[in-house]
């Protein structure tokens, strides 16, 4: 019950009771209460005119960046004895500095400011409606004003600069890129020999080979390097991922997908993204910086959710034609195997980046005999899932997320040529 009502009831009860029993003491008791009540009503602000504005230092940042928010209230009307507000930060924004609450008085033609700094994790955050409360000097009459503001902070996943990824999908475009296209043309990799044709540069003439021929010059031919279609697929099914405390395996997967997208786009490829969790969301393939923004925005919004998709085969893999490069970022479930093998059979070059859930969880388990045994069994089960993929020629990276993605992928591309050559 409101204090105002309690006080009103008390005053009227005392007056009526005093009159009923004809006792002046009761009427006297009502006087301080009535003075308190009336002074509160008299000084109560009726229609304050406030101008509320919120400024955000950046609306589009990379995960972990600090964002400064400045909220100011300017009083265009009469003085307000007590005014307060509280910014309720959406989950994922962590207060680093400053206060999100403010209580003060606000004289006419003056302003109040609330400054705070938040650290944002990957996601898209809509800052809430500003709700300003004000009351009289005794706090009996409280009212609320709401101000709609459309402040959104998009926090993109962190991208790491990756070394050149030597993918070799069967299908390439005519545009120049970095992928060996299995056909002769301008390039730097030796491809073969052919008869000299007028117009060929003399420095490309292979004199040793020409010496073995009669009246024929032989020229070196180089492999053309072209761009390719790359379909990035990010698994966002809740059941695929583990979360331990504040850390989620999905964040590593999203960050890896962002890094891969940037690396492929920088190499001149045509890249599209599909992420499937609660729903399927796709970004149609494209080139360049605009496409990079599209993909990073899509990844900022990606969140693991209960999936309606039971099997991967329902994925719209046809958004890149057969012969293209598919890159799946997923911890993998056993039932995903047939679909991956099927994609491989349809001439897709498939690369699977699989954040290792066993290694992720193992580091957080107690150092006991039972835990070791459980980890060993889990590893064996995982190997049983991964082995058929390797045998089918699918490139696979079993990624322990404690190693940064750029280092992990660099170690593999440098140390194991077999890995990239496999299946092509």
């Amino acid at each position: 019950m409101s204090r105002l009502v309690i006080l009103g009831v008390a005053v009227f009860s005392l007056v009526i009771l005093g009159l009923a029993v004809v006792r002046a003491e009761l009427l006297l008791m009502a006087i301080p209460l009535a003075v308190y009540l009336l002074s509160s009503l008299y000084f109560s602000p009726w229609q304050p005119k406030l101008e509320v504005s919120r400024q955000v230092s950046a609306t589009r940042v990379v995960s972990g960046t600090l964002v400064e928010v400045r909220l100011s209230i300017f009083n265009l009307g009469e003085s307000i004895d007590r005014i307060w507000l509280e910014e309720k930060l959406p989950g994922g924004l962590v207060l680093v500095e400053g206060e999100t609450r403010l209580l003060d008085s606000l004289p006419s033609r003056q302003s109040l400011e609330l400054n705070y700094t938040v650290r944002a994790e990957r996601g898209v955050y809509a800052l809430p409606v500003v709700e300003v409360y004000y009351s009289d000097r005794l706090g009996l009459v409280t009212r609320r004003l709401s101000y709609e503001t459309q402040d959104t902070i998009s926090v993109l996943p962190k991208t790491l600069r990756l070394a050149h990824l030597p993918i070799r999908p069967p299908l390439t475009h005519g545009f120049n890129g970095s992928i060996p296209a299995r056909r002769g043309g301008p390039g730097v990799l030796f491809f073969g020999l052919r008869d000299y044709q007028p117009g060929d540069a003399l420095r490309w003439v292979n004199w040793r080979a020409s010496a073995r021929q009669e009246n024929t010059l032989v020229t070196n031919e180089f492999q053309q390097e072209s761009a390719a279609n790359v379909g990035l697929i990010l698994d966002a099914r809740q059941e695929s991922y583990l979360s331990v405390g504040q850390e989620s395996l999905f964040e590593h997967a999203a960050s890896a997908a962002a890094s891969l997208a940037e690396a492929f786009l920088n190499a001149g490829n045509r890249v599209g993204l599909v992420h499937y969790g609660r729903y399927i969301s796709w970004t149609l393939p494209g080139y360049g910086k605009v496409q990079r923004e599209r993909i990073l925005n899509a990844l900022a919004q990606a969140a693991p959710g209960e999936s309606q998709i039971d099997r991967l085969e329902y994925l719209p893999a046809r958004f890149v034609p057969p012969g293209s490069q598919l890159v799946l970022v997923s911890p993998l479930l056993e039932r995903d195997l047939p679909t991956l093998l099927q994609l491989r059979a349809r001439r897709y070059a498939v690369l699977v980046i699989s954040p290792d859930p066993v290694a992720f969880e193992a580091k957080r388990l107690p150092n006991t005999q039972e835990a070791h045994q459980a980890i060993r069994i889990a590893r064996l089960e995982r190997q049983l899932v991964l082995q058929p993929l390797r045998e089918a020629g699918i490139q696979l990276m079993d990624w322990d997320v404690s190693i940064p993605f750029d280092q992990a992928i660099q170690a593999i591309t440098r140390g194991a040529g077999r890995f990239w050559a496999g299946g092509l």
């Binding site: 204090r3 002046a24 008791m29 209460l33 003075v35 007590r82 206060e99 403010l102 209580l103």
Partner: protein, 166 residues
């Protein structure tokens, strides 16, 4: 500061009420006042409605004390202390989430305004206790009209109270 002030006021109110009841040999009402005081204090630490219940309990104790023919200054002072404690408990609750506000001028201003209002109320009570005047019919009628208008204003305010603006 506020956290001490409400406690001091509450203890003063309890001392005055308990002394009155114990002086009259009525320990049950003294116990009732103590329970009401505890409820008021509980409002600060737990749920706000406890503070309202506690204030209401202290008010009932004061009314009963008045009906028992206590000295007028004693129950009046007890009531004013209860009202101050009740107000300051809510003010302290309001300040609690705001770190900066406790250090600002707001608490000092509030205490000063509350003192003035309650002092004014007490002064008016003293005036009313000591002053005697005879009202004619016209003056009584004018007072009745003013009371009706005041009541209408209070009801209007109560109805508008929670309506959002802006």
């Amino acid at each position: 500061m506020i956290n001490f002030l409400w406690l001091i006021n509450l203890l003063s109110a309890l001392a005055l009420i308990s002394a009155g009841f114990l002086g009259a040999g009525d320990w049950r009402w003294a116990l009732g006042a103590l329970v009401s005081g505890s409820l008021l204090a509980g409002g600060f630490f737990w749920k706000r409605w406890l503070a309202n219940a506690g204030f209401f309990g202290l008010l009932v104790c004061c009314i009963y004390g008045a009906l028992l023919q206590w000295p007028a200054w004693q129950f009046g002072l007890a009531l004013i202390c209860s009202l101050a404690a009740w107000d300051l408990v809510f003010f302290a609750i309001r300040l609690r989430p705001f770190k900066d506000a406790a250090a600002s001028r707001l608490p000092g201003r509030h205490v000063m305004q509350l003192s003035l209002i309650l002092g004014g109320g007490a002064g008016l009570s003293v005036l009313a206790l000591n002053g005697q005047f005879v009202l004619g019919f016209e003056a009584a009628l004018l007072l009745a009209v003013m009371a009706a208008v005041g009541l209408a204003q209070v009801i209007r305010l109560l109805r508008d109270r929670d309506e959002p603006h802006g």
